[in-house]
């Protein structure tokens, strides 16, 4: 039998990076930019935070860390790192009108490389015997749950046992949905993604919207990388540990039909599927089944892609100009 009270917090913990990546990518795609660089951006978001906190921890080896700084330094580093990634993507695809798919894939390779390069360097610097860096002091601040959560039994465990980034990820998704569907900026953003020439003729600054949406989207996604290292992995960075969560986040965008609110539920579902293999008792004789269970999220992704491509409703289709560059004077 699956232990629900133990499973749900793990599933939600897993879902946070997916949800942040998904919300960020939804904003980006709504502007018509298909950013396949999200996995790389999330890596960079993670490693930037790690670099910040590594040096702050080094500076405070023998003294007390300031809790506020311990959180703000990695947070800002992470935001700046992913913002730079977003800017590179925008300069290439919006200003120079490079192919979005190629740029995105290159950004992923680049981001993962950057992550592993600096990760490796830091591991050397720290002189650890294992190929990883442990930032457990910083992680303590990131994963700090509400103090009374522990006293509330299963309720506290399921709803109150998370670090602040987890709650932030849900708030971001809700705000993203409100912005998209209830504000003028959201209306304009959707118009830019559907038909940039229409938006342009209506006096909307297409490039500005693409830049802002993509960079903000990258910063949100980057937080996913930060959350993974600082909270989920308890401050331990080891190269390639983040895995393919970035790709799952992109698949989630389609699953949630470009709606961040659906994204919340989709992320929790996928978070659960991602770790369900740990909770299905197989016994020692059938260890190989675990490998099959690990496939579940990917099989579901494929299945969902088939399902979504069969849907006919126009509102549920990808933004019409997704993946296309816009040039006003093109004839």
């Amino acid at each position: 039998m699956i232990d629900i009270v133990a499973f749900i917090p793990r599933a939600i913990g897993q879902s946070v990076p997916l949800l942040l990546g998904c919300s960020g990518e939804i904003l980006t795609e709504k502007s018509g930019n298909l950013n396949l660089g999200i996995p790389g951006v999330m890596y960079v978001g993670g490693i930037s935070g790690v670099i910040g906190s590594f040096f702050y921890e080094q500076a405070c080896v023998n003294k007390e860390m300031n809790p506020l700084l311990a959180i703000l330094i990695p947070l800002l580093c992470s935001l700046v790192g992913s913002f730079i990634m977003g800017m590179i993507y925008c300069i290439l695809t919006v200003s120079l009108r490079a192919n979005q798919n190629v740029t995105g894939l290159a950004m992923t390779t680049f981001g993962v490389g950057i992550g592993n390069f600096f990760g490796g360097s830091l591991i050397k610097l720290s002189g650890a015997d294992v190929p990883s860096i442990a930032l457990s002091r910083t992680s303590g601040y990131f994963s700090k749950a509400l103090p009374f959560a522990a006293n509330l039994g299963w309720f506290g465990k399921i709803f109150l046992s998370y670090g602040f980034l987890c709650y932030l990820s849900f708030i971001i998704a809700i705000i993203a949905a409100l912005v998209l569907y209830k504000t003028r900026a959201g209306l304009h953003l959707r118009a830019v993604g559907e038909s940039p020439s229409t938006a342009d003729a209506a006096g909307i600054n297409v490039s500005k919207y693409k830049y802002v949406a993509t960079c903000v989207g990258c910063m949100i996604a980057g937080l996913g990388g930060l959350y993974y290292v600082m909270d989920y992995a308890s401050g331990v960075w080891s190269n390639d540990a983040f895995g393919d969560r970035g790709w799952l986040a992109i698949a989630l965008v389609i699953f949630s039909i470009w709606n961040p609110l659906i994204g919340i539920f989709a992320a929790i579902l996928f978070g659960g599927l991602y770790i369900v293999y740990l909770y299905i008792p197989t016994g020692m004789d059938y260890m190989e089944f675990k490998e099959l269970y690990k496939m579940i999220p990917y099989v579901v992704t494929l299945f969902v892609l088939v399902l979504t491509s069969m849907r006919n409703k126009r509102e549920n289709q990808p933004p019409a100009s997704l993946g296309l560059s816009y040039f006003r004077e093109e004839r």
């Binding site: 304009h188 020439s197 229409t198 003729a201």
Partner: protein, 515 residues
């Protein structure tokens, strides 16, 4: 001093080495409808795009109400009261009419208030739209209405309409003209770009003519006539009559019976369509766009899966062959040629990034015996088409997408004709073409007819259909609402048939079955 709402002075605009407008000086007056005329590529749309802020002029000055202005973006244009309704609608499909109308405006999002203001505008000028309807649910004329309301919502005093009637039925066009007259009464300045001479004559007060990017002159509409205007546009005398040679020895060539086609969503695009197309005749097909014209032609060419019915090809010796379900290649071998000009002009038939010769080869790449393709013949053919049809191109090696629309169409039609077809299917062959190029295409089609080819001609302009066709089949929502002799009918009747299925036994409707 003057009542000019807009004055353009010495406007020049270049795209790379191409000069789109050169030294254009033009006044647009309040309370007046100005028709802007010119051939394709004469720079009408470019000129108007500079007023609406899409392009920025390289040289020259623009005055609004005698004050010099710089229109650097569409937003500035709105603020100056200039609104343009583009030929290709600038609407977002998945948004509602209201959302589209308020798109780009500032301030808090208040859809309720917007809706009320839209209602007000609709009542004032006699529009009829549902503010909460999604654009993709709308007909073409409804979309156009949304475009016009959008412009008025922003308080435009100067309205530019780029080929507004190209997509409308005659009745819808008349409705639009009434609205335009209402706006004129209201003191607004209107500019209409159109290729249709009779519309110029019926709606405009003044005509301004552009030729090759230069301003030729303007005159009061009541003092001129279609022939004079055309001569000004083209720069030489052009005959405005389309030849209609008498069909010689017509024999049934294609017989369609009970054809029913559903599209991928299961909607009936063609319903029980029956007719016969004869050799040496032009069968015109009229109908509002999207009424099954595409499906009909594709069925004959073997590119559509039909639900039921039959399409028989009857050769000269009387043999019949079923085309439905047949291999498109076999149908091609029988001599059925399809030239379909879609709305974006390229698409079916030509590959934009390939050059002229390679596009010719799309039809002939299977020929030749060696493993290598034969490039010489298509190259010669391309040269011949360029020569015969006066295609303006830098060379045979130019990618087709770089050519202007008219020249692209000439290449497509030229290629299809060069294979000596027995059946020529052509759709929107003159779509967006100016008068001069259109007549070249009409001549080509007539030549084929005289050679004994059965021509099926899907057209948009009823005047042309009435002049060139021998018979006209009218489609309405996938059904045949009647087949009429072109000589014995008029625009009104065909226009009505386009909007509703009529009794098939009206006085001068005849069936095409011949004994």
């Amino acid at each position: 001093m003057s009542q000019a709402a807009v004055r353009l002075e010495n406007i020049t605009k270049r795209f790379g080495s191409v000069v789109a407008n050169s030294g254009v000086t033009l006044d647009i007056n309040k309370g007046e409808i100005l028709a802007l005329l010119g051939e394709n590529g004469s720079g009408k749309t470019t000129l108007m795009n500079m007023l609406s802020g899409i392009y920025y002029p390289d040289e020259g000055r623009i005055f609004i109400d005698d004050k010099e202005v710089k229109i650097s973006s569409p937003k500035v244009a709105f603020e100056l009261g200039i609104g343009m309704v583009h030929q290709h609608f600038k609407l977002v499909d998945v948004l509602t009419a209201t959302e589209n109308i308020i798109l780009g405006l500032e301030g808090r999002l208040n859809k309720k208030e917007a809706r009320e203001k839209i209602k007000e505008i609709c009542d004032k000028y006699g529009f009829d739209i549902n503010p909460d309807q999604k654009i993709y649910d709308m007909s073409v004329s409804q979309k156009q209405t949304v475009e016009i309301v959008k412009v008025l919502y922003r308080g435009a005093k100067i309205l530019i309409l780029d080929e507004p009637t190209a997509v409308l039925t005659p009745q819808e066009a008349e409705k639009l003209f009434n609205v335009m007259r209402n706006m004129k009464e209201d003191g607004k300045a209107l500019v209409i770009i159109t290729h249709k001479m009779h519309e110029v004559e019926s709606i405009s007060d003044r005509v301004a003519v552009l030729r090759k990017g230069e301003y030729v002159g303007s005159m009061m509409t009541k003092d001129t006539n279609a022939a004079e205007m055309t001569n000004m546009m083209v720069g030489r005398t052009v005959s405005l009559n389309i030849r209609r040679p008498k069909p010689v020895n017509p024999r049934p060539r294609i017989r369609v019976e009970g054809l029913t086609v559903r599209n991928i969503e299961g909607i009936e695009k063609l319903k029980d369509v029956s007719f016969t197309a004869n050799s040496g005749e032009i069968l015109g097909i009229a109908g509002i766009s999207g009424c099954g014209q595409k499906e009909l032609l594709e069925s004959i060419a073997g590119l559509q899966i039909a639900e039921k019915g039959s399409i028989k090809y009857i050769s000269d010796d009387g043999n019949e062959e079923e085309l439905l379900g047949n291999d498109p290649r076999r149908i091609e071998e029988l001599g059925v040629a399809l030239s379909f000009v879609p709305e974006d002009r390229l698409g079916m038939g030509l590959v934009g990034n390939m050059d002229l010769a390679d596009n010719m080869m799309l039809r002939s790449f299977r020929n030749g015996k060696s493993v290598f393709t034969d490039r010489g013949t298509p190259h010669k053919l391309a040269e011949k088409v360029v020569d015969d049809l006066e295609v303006v191109t830098p060379g045979i090696e130019t990618p087709v997408r770089r050519l202007s629309g008219g020249n692209v169409q000439k290449i497509l039609v030229g290629r299809e004709i060069s294979h000596a077809p027995t059946v020529l299917l052509t759709a929107y062959a003159v779509r967006g073409l100016d008068i001069n190029s259109s007549y070249t295409i009409y001549d080509l089609i007539n030549e084929q007819k005289e050679k004994g080819v059965a021509v099926i001609f899907v057209g948009e302009d009823l005047d042309v259909l009435l002049e060139i066709s021998d018979k006209i089949l009218v489609l309405c929502a996938g059904e045949v609402s009647g087949i009429v002799e072109a000589e014995k009918t008029d625009k009104n009747e065909v226009g009505l048939m386009m909007t509703k299925v009529m009794q098939k036994d009206t006085s001068h409707a005849v069936t095409l079955k011949k004994d």
